[in-house]
Symmetry: C2
Subunit: 443 residues, 2 copies
């Protein structure tokens, strides 16, 4: 008998690799934070022993969800500005509140709120991207959550930075500070084609090449962005980036709602990843990204929630369901973007976008044990004919019972093991009071 | 001091009438099952006393949600057939399973599962419509849930009925059996224009006029329905119904995804209600009903989940959010279908569709105390700047803590007071096993 750190018995397991597989009455054997084996529970019992044996008899285990795009700290601005025109939302509400309130403390406490919400909902890995990225990185590391932290870059000053050069040097410092951390990676984050000029893009390309760094950018989010790029540069934004040499498999294009066939072809040829943020795109009136066409073109399409100021939740199970429903509704074809595809987008495709697919995103021996349990024993998810259908179309965040990152049990029976919910509530309430008096009420 | 049955103190209350009002630190005073008063908690303390005082200090109270369209018993078929073409879904999967399994027992136990799911998610009133409607009515009455039970009518035989005449006589018997029940009303439910001929529609019109009965019908659900009607009758379905004299404020048109301006004008002129079922319409590939255009035309638009075989949840909070997001995304205008409108659609508009708006749907003295508490004290719904935004864009079903119907506490701290969850689990598991061996697995 081989002694190991942890064994989880599950009613069902969806490992994501191989594609579409659903295992019944299997166990996951974990040692040193990594998956050692997946095998029938009956077989496991004769081969492995452990002091920590978790039995989940009505649960489905899936890889931990990967939120490939958010601005975590903006959870403190959840609900400050809904149902408004995009320009009013951004320039009259969000930017002034950020100018007044964003600080290292805001980012630390806002990120903690966001990561807490995500962990409870089964997210084990997040691409976070906001001012004071070092603070978010520290919070993720403290909570033992996996994160790719983007350093924002723009040609205008912000609460955190005086301008392009300053952003870049802080981004490089972030990269150096976290380069050897087992849970944290970093990325360069030029905000968008409309807030970054060619000279800055060229410097980003140079650094990205030297460091082999991931580059994340908001791309083709709104119709106005395309029009402005055509007017100023005579090019669609993605074509401008292509000519600047920015497109590569390290690039993550977020949103891509305005994606014509020519844009999809350019993206597919360069092998970039796309992060589909369906709730945010709908809520801000930007439409629906053609996720099915992108998948058919061979693009790697992951899922993101965007920030809580434009969603207003950080719930990957919800985005999975919405992505599947929208693809069917907008194509008038109920067979597209099926349940298995939705689960892969929220797990393995996210890992691939972040360059982490050899480490996480599926339940394969050798990868980190990043996973979550979804309890299907509830009126909303019974009976169970297809666990894949159930997790995409019927289950919701409250059914996530347990979460592990690199084998560490972070959520147990819906309770945090590391995080103090009273402290979180207390610090969030202080921001609620401080910011609340500056929030305009709807008429 | 006036002694009353029940007082609920809430951090926030959204009464829906007046429109957009949010009350803070108010109490709801309930006596004889009805709302006696809404007033500031401080004022209540000097005027009323009670043996049952419920204090909800981090909660929002809203009217109980009204699911204006479902087929409750189909919860036993949840997940049997996803990601399939519409015709395969209906004719190759759903109809054969219904032929084999639908019985009085199926409807009784399936309805109980559905009503349990809905109650836990804050739904206090449901328009249910399936075979053996007397069974669903009995289950709703036993659970003390408010329901409008539709008797199905079609020109073809089904597990429950031998044909049009039989359907009609059973529908009339249903009406007679429940006419004096305080919680249950009934309706005539011709399936759709394509499964009901003119002669049967004329009989339905006669009975509806005599009984002043609500008539519910699936209308303009798919593009194929419009094409078929044009081919067979030379008329769009709603125009055919208009000529048959079926359109009136008692009529509820469910789906209405294929609604051209001329259809909306016809519907608005007749004063019918529409039930928008956004998740089901997307999932079956039927597109998005133009909810905003209907609201602007003055139509009463309510919300429904449809059955669990095409959604796959019965979650009105989720439909509220989806309706708001879709209206914004499809119109490219983030200001349309705002949070207050979404809440009204899920409450008062549903009551109006069912002819119950003098009895329920808003928190107004004199109406039944049908209401639910949503606990906003969770990482996903903090901070709270706008309770209206929060309940539509951030809250989810698990945050429903308490539910009352006509003043009776049916869900207390997320636990049923009347229903035995073990019995429900046991009987659902039996159906899972019985039906499961007949469900085709996806390839």
């Amino acid at each position: 008998m081989e002694s190991v750190d942890l064994i989880i018995d599950a009613r069902w397991i969806i490992p994501v690799e191989p594609d579409r597989q659903v295992l019944e009455h299997h166990s996951i054997v974990i040692h040193g934070g990594r998956i050692l084996a997946l095998l029938p529970t009956a077989e496991m019992q004769s081969r492995f022993s452990t002091h920590e044996h978790v039995r989940r008899s009505t649960h489905l285990v899936i890889p931990g969800l990967i939120n490939a795009h958010t601005h975590g700290a903006m959870s403190l601005l959840r609900g400050v500005a809904d149902d408004l025109p995009f320009d009013t939302w951004l320039h009259k509400r969000i930017f002034p509140l950020e100018q007044r309130f964003v600080s290292a403390e805001f980012v630390r406490e806002g990120s903690e709120l966001a990561f807490a919400e995500m962990l409870l909902a089964g997210t084990t890995c997040v691409a976070d991207w906001y001012f004071y990225p070092d603070e978010s990185a520290r919070v993720a590391a403290e909570l033992h959550m996996r994160a790719c932290i983007g350093a924002p870059i723009a040609d205008f000053p912000a609460p955190w930075s005086r301008g392009a050069g300053d952003y870049l040097s802080q981004g490089l410092a972030l990269h150096d500070a976290w380069r050897d951390h087992p849970l944290i990676t970093t990325a360069l984050g030029p905000h968008s084609p409309y807030l970054v000029g060619d000279a800055t893009f060229e410097r980003i390309r140079t650094y990205a090449d030297q460091l082999d760094a991931t580059v994340m950018i908001h791309l083709h989010e709104s119709a106005a962005e395309i029009e402005q790029s055509l007017a100023v540069h005579g090019l669609r934004p993605i074509e401008r980036l292509r000519r600047l040499g920015l497109l590569s498999p390290r690039m993550i294009a977020v949103h891509f709602t305005q994606a014509e066939p020519v844009d999809i072809a350019t993206a597919a040829q360069a092998g970039i990843s796309v992060v589909h943020c369906p709730a945010s795109n709908l809520k801000l009136g930007n439409g629906v990204a053609p996720a099915q066409a992108m998948l058919e073109a061979g693009l790697n399409v992951a899922l993101g929630t965007d920030g809580a100021a434009s969603n207003n939740t950080l719930d990957l199970l919800g985005e999975m369901r919405l992505a599947a429903l929208l693809a069917k509704g907008s194509s008038r074809d109920p067979t597209v973007l099926d349940a298995a595809t939705a689960v892969r987008m929220a797990t393995l495709n996210g890992a691939r976008a972040l360059g982490l697919d050899s480490e996480t995103g599926s339940l394969v021996p050798g990868k980190w044990a990043d996973l979550c349990c979804v309890n299907l024993d509830a009126p909303a998810t019974l009976p169970v004919y297809s666990p894949l259908s159930q997790v995409v179309y019927a289950a919701a965040r409250e059914q996530v019972s347990d979460v592990w990152v690199a084998g560490k049990h972070l959520v147990r029976d819906r309770e945090f093991t590391l995080l103090d919910p009273d402290r979180l509530r207390h610090q969030t309430t202080r921001w609620n009071e401080r910011i609340g008096s500056h929030v305009e009420r709807p008429a």
